[in-house]
Each structure stands twice: as structure tokens, then as C-alpha cells.
């Protein structure tokens, strides 16, 4: 086992890694920016080093100072958390070259999955379903057969695209040529590249992801799925649950099997997540792989009784994963609400400042992962996540009631939070029935109040 780990992160995930390390008897080194001098992770760690000014680019992303702090402190491993440098293959490589074990997957897997096009291609080769695409459209007539094959509606996308520019939804073959011409003209105007391709359009898909865990000896298992369909506009997750409600057991089995197959195809080790879109027809498609611990990992931990962060460290230290797939058994249902310093009424605009009184929930079946406390500073420079409330109960209805109770106990003064939007979401009938999809929050909870300002958000 390692002697001492440097945690190259801040906030609740740094606290989470310190907790796992302490339980394993491993010493921890926190790093912090000048804006985080009084942060909880700094107080909890055995040692701490200031690595730069408030701006993340000069502190939490400052590789020379991070590596130097690890060397000065005598660390033998680095845990990157999520965000920041966690999916940066070059950083993982630099760690290795300085004799520091990067607690995460092999550099090759990070690099391969970090490139969306190569990841998609490798997954396709491995037999994992990806969203069918036409390739660059040379003439409308040539893609007609593709569109008939996948079925309408289809989505025309700019090859150089981004931000919705050069995108068109086409509902029937008669409109295809017109749609391609319009998308191509828009793409040409926006990116000086008129190339477009056609993709199957999923109607109100769900975001379902599968947790995988593998050791460095080739033993890979899955730990079931999470439903992360409750998302803010802009595809940012807000509420997650495990297992996914109303999921056909046969589809679940195929999803999890695909995830393990995908992880094997890239010789994966450590914790990772495969994200899929699930259509109404029960067809699912690979979106991307996150080669790190996820924000929402606690719901999997409580449902499967597995400490994922401790396993990340143990696997990186060369231990064998002792959990066999047959032993993996979901127990009950878990929901996580991300409490962010954000104003949902104002397009989830981030808030910052000094917190007043903070009262956090507890009691049976509630887990809390947070770094905040009464009087803590919420700096404007970083991710706005304040706390993750996790409710675990024998069944989904009880878990929802437990979460509603926990949210009612929670008080965070001083900044706007996402508490109210969670309360609203949890009492929405379609949520209670387990019928959410990636645009559900916008279409059924925020709408109509926020719809008028939605246009200002995308920039």
C-alpha cells in the first residue's frame, strides 16, 4: 500500500479521497489555491501546500507545482479526483516519470477515450453500439438509404460543428435535401466548412451509465447502472439514481455486458464509467467513457456496498480486485441530489460568497459528501458543487420520501442553491413514475418560467 497520497483536487472530492485514504492507513497531502486557504480538505489532510493563486489554470492545473509538492512531501501516488487533471493523459505520464503512481486507468486508455472520434471507432470495433452516422454527406441522394435504414427523424450535424450551429432535424425524406442544404450553408458561414453528416435522432433518450471497476491483472466487473437523465440545460447532471427505474432486466443485462466488453477492449483498469443514451425502443448507444471517478459514484457505493474510492487506491497500489461479478447485488435504491451554488431561476447562474449558517441533513439512510461548513467561503473560480445528498432506502418510493425529508432539513444561507429546484423535481408526477429523459428538467420542471431566458444560456 502507498505511504502518502497527494490529492490534486479540491472541494468534496478531495475530502472524499482523504476519508478513503485515512481508512486505508495512508497519509494525505492536500494542495490548495490562495482562495482555498480555509477549505475543509486543507484542514483534514495530514499536510498541505499552497500551489498558486485563485485561478485554476495557475493552481489546480499547475502541473510543476503539483509534482514539486508531491516530491517535497515524499508522496508515492497522486489521486486526481474528477475534473481538473483527472482525464489528462499527459499529466498521468508526468506523474509516472516522477515515480508517482497516478491513481486511475493506464495512460493509453485515458488518451484513447479522451478523443471522442477514436473512442467511438474503437467501441464500434469492439461491438458496442454507437449512434449510427452516415459519414460526410456527398449528395442528399446518397444518404437517403442510410436515413431509411435508421428511420426518421434524423439529425444533420456540421462536421466542424459545435454550439448547435449547422444542426437540423429532418422528420421525413421529402425535407432531407432542403435540410442538408440549409445545414451546410450555415456550417459554411460559421466554420468555413460546409461538410455535414447525418445521425439517427433519438427521441427523448435517457442517460444511463454503467460503473466498471477493474484491477491491473485483467479482472473487470460492472457495478450496475445509474440513471442520470435529470440534467440542467447544457447536459449537466443534477440528480442521479441507481438502479435506473423502469429498466427492462434484459436491457440492463445487455447494457452492463456492453460496458464490460468496452472496458476490456481498451485494457482498462481502475474505476471508469461508460455513458449511454437509451432510446424509447430500448436500443442504447455508447456516448463516451469517463476515465475517472464520477461525481455521482456514491449512489453506486451505497446500493452495492462497495467503496469505489478505496478500491481505486487499492487497485493502483497493485492489489487484486476481490469482488466477483456474481457477488455484485443491488440492495435497495439510491438517489443523489447535487446541491450547487446556482440560481435555477436565472439559468443556473453560479453564485459565490461567504456562507452563513449551514445545517446539513442526517438520520437513517442519508449520506452527505460535502466540503462546506457555516462561514465557509464559496470562491467564484471553481465548480459550483457544494454538497451531495444521497438517500438510500429499500425501494424507490421510500428513497424519494427520504430525500424529500432530507432536503427539508437542509439550510444553506448566503448563496442561492439548487435546493428549490430539487424539491420541485421530486414532486413532479413524471419523476415519481420514473419517466425522465435528458431534456425532462427543462421541458417538465423549468418550463415555462425559464424557457423565455433559455436562449441566453447557451453562449
Amino acid at each position: 500500500m502507498f505511504e502518502k497520497i497527494l490529492i490534486a483536487n479540491r472541494g468534496e472530492i478531495a475530502v472524499r479521497v482523504i476519508r478513503a485514504s485515512r481508512e486505508l492507513g495512508v497519509k494525505t497531502v492536500a494542495v490548495f489555491s490562495e482562495a482555498d486557504r480555509n477549505a475543509l480538505h486543507v484542514r483534514m489532510a495530514d499536510e498541505s501546500y499552497c500551489i498558486g493563486p485563485a485561478l485554476a489554470s495557475r493552481s489546480y492545473l499547475n502541473v510543476p507545482n503539483l509534482i514539486s509538492a508531491a516530491e517535497v512531501a515524499g508522496c508515492d501516488a497522486v489521486h486526481p479526483g474528477y475534473g481538473f487533471l483527472s482525464e489528462n493523459a499527459a499529466f498521468a505520464e508526468i506523474c509516472a516519470s516522477h515515480g508517482l503512481k497516478f491513481i486511475g486507468p493506464p495512460v493509453k486508455a485515458i488518451a484513447l477515450m479522451g478523443d471522442k472520434a477514436s473512442a467511438k471507432m474503437r467501441m464500434q470495433e469492439a461491438g458496442v453500439p454507437v449512434i449510427p452516422g452516415s459519414g460526410i454527406v456527398e449528395s442528399p441522394d446518397r444518404v437517403k438509404s442510410f436515413c431509411r435504414e435508421v428511420g426518421y427523424p434524423v439529425l444533420i450535424k456540421a462536421s466542424a460543428g459545435g454550439g448547435g450551429k449547422g444542426m437540423r432535424v429532418v422528420g421525413r425524406e421529402a425535407d432531407l435535401a432542403k435540410g442538408i442544404a440549409a445545414a451546410s450553408a450555415e456550417a459554411e458561414a460559421s466554420f468555413s466548412n460546409g461538410q455535414v453528416y447525418v445521425e439517427k435522432l433519438l427521441n427523448h433518450p435517457r442517460h444511463i451509465e454503467v460503473q466498471v471497476l477493474g484491477d491491473e491483472f485483467g479482472h473487470i466487473i460492472h457495478l450496475g447502472e445509474r440513471d442520470c437523465s435529470v440534467q440542467k440545460p447544457g447536459h449537466q447532471k443534477l440528480l442521479e439514481e441507481a438502479p435506473a427505474p423502469n429498466l427492462d432486466p434484459e436491457v440492463r443485462h445487455r447494457l452492463c455486458a456492453s460496458a464490460v466488453k468496452a472496458a476490456r477492449a481498451v485494457d482498462y483498469s481502475n474505476a471508469g464509467t461508460l455513458e449511454f443514451l437509451l432510446g424509447g425502443d430500448n436500443q442504447f448507444y455508447f456516448m463516451e467513457m469517463n476515465t475517472r471517478i464520477q461525481v455521482e459514484h456514491p449512489i453506486t457505493e451505497v446500493v452495492y456496498g462497495v467503496d469505489l474510492v478505496a478500491w481505486q487506491i487499492r487497485i493502483a497500489a497493485g492489489e487484486r480486485l476481490t469482488i466477483r461479478q456474481e457477488e455484485v447485488q443491488a440492495r435497495g435504491h439510491a438517489i443523489e441530489c447535487r446541491i450547487n451554488a446556482e440560481n435555477a431561476e436565472k439559468s443556473f447562474q453560479p453564485a459565490s460568497g461567504k456562507l452563513g449558517t449551514v445545517l446539513l441533513p442526517g438520520g437513517p439512510g442519508i449520506r452527505l459528501d460535502t466540503h462546506i461548513y457555516s462561514g465557509a467561503e464559496v470562491p467564484p473560480y471553481y465548480d459550483s458543487l457544494l454538497a451531495k445528498i444521497i438517500a438510500h432506502s429499500p425501494n424507490r418510493d421510500d428513497a424519494i420520501r427520504r430525500m424529500v425529508r432530507a432536503l427539508a432539513e437542509t439550510e444553506i444561507h448566503g448563496v442561492a442553491t439548487t435546493l428549490p429546484i430539487h424539491q420541485k423535481a421530486l414532486e413532479t408526477p413524471s419523476f415519481l413514475e420514473g419517466r425522465t429523459y435528458v431534456t425532462w428538467l427543462r421541458e417538465e420542471v423549468l418550463h415555462p418560467p425559464v424557457a423565455a431566458t433559455a436562449g441566453a444560456h447557451g453562449a
Binding site: 493563486p53 507545482n65 509538492a69
Partner: protein, 152 residues
Amino acid sequence: MFAGTPLMSLRIETDSGTVTFEKSATGTDSTPVEQARPPHSRVLRHQSPKRESEPGWPYDTVNAEIVGVFRPADDVPLPGDVVEENQVLGHIEALRLRNPVRNPQRGAFVAQIVEDGQAVDFGEALFVIDHSETTAPGALQEEPEALEPPRL
């Protein structure tokens, strides 16, 4: 001579003013009101002194710009010596490189406040220099700061 000692604060007084250094982990916020502390407060093994100015202070500190191990220059000035702009006062060893610590402007040397071989982190005060004869105090400028985009 400071962070490695049991001292909790260090006050340097001369005719022209005073400067006080206090260990940061003991709660030397610029507004030391009764700020709530989480229950996990512990004595950190590595503690960097945080600069604390007093009204009318004429001193500047030369601070570490990088994390590493501090080494003083072979010819460390004595208190009262004039130190020239860009004079190398010491080095910070990081990633097998020796990074010079330079005096930003001409002044009178007051003190070296970290030991040879001590680990220093970003912003840690290394030297105290009296710049009062050359410029007015408070000339340090903060860079404008932009917001980071959300990271997930």
C-alpha cells in the same frame, strides 16, 4: 528560522515600522472574527507563515513563486545591507531545477525568514526587504482574475 520552530508569531520591529508573521493554520484571517471552524482542525505538519501587514508598514516580502525546497544564496546579505534590484537572494529547488529568487526592487535587507532546506509553498514569504526609501508601500498589484468555466 520560523516555520520549523514552535513559535506561533514573529514580530520584527525597527525604527521605521513593524511587520508581524503568524502561522497560517492557527487562524490568522484578515478578519479574525469568530468564524465558525469545522471540527477537524488539526495541527498541520507543513505550515507556511502567512504575511500579515500592519498599518503604515514599510516592508515588502519576497515570496516563493513556486513550490519546492529553499536554498539561500551563498552570500546572504546581512540586515541593513543594500540589496539591488534583481539580486539573487536564494534558490528554490523544484523538479531538479534551481529557480533563482530575485529581489524585485532596490532596498535594505531586513531578514531571511525560512531555513536552508525548508519546503516552501506558493506565496510563502522568504525574505523581508525594506523598500521604504525607494517607493511608497502598497505598490503590489493584483492581476485581474477571470472566472473559470464550470468543469463538469
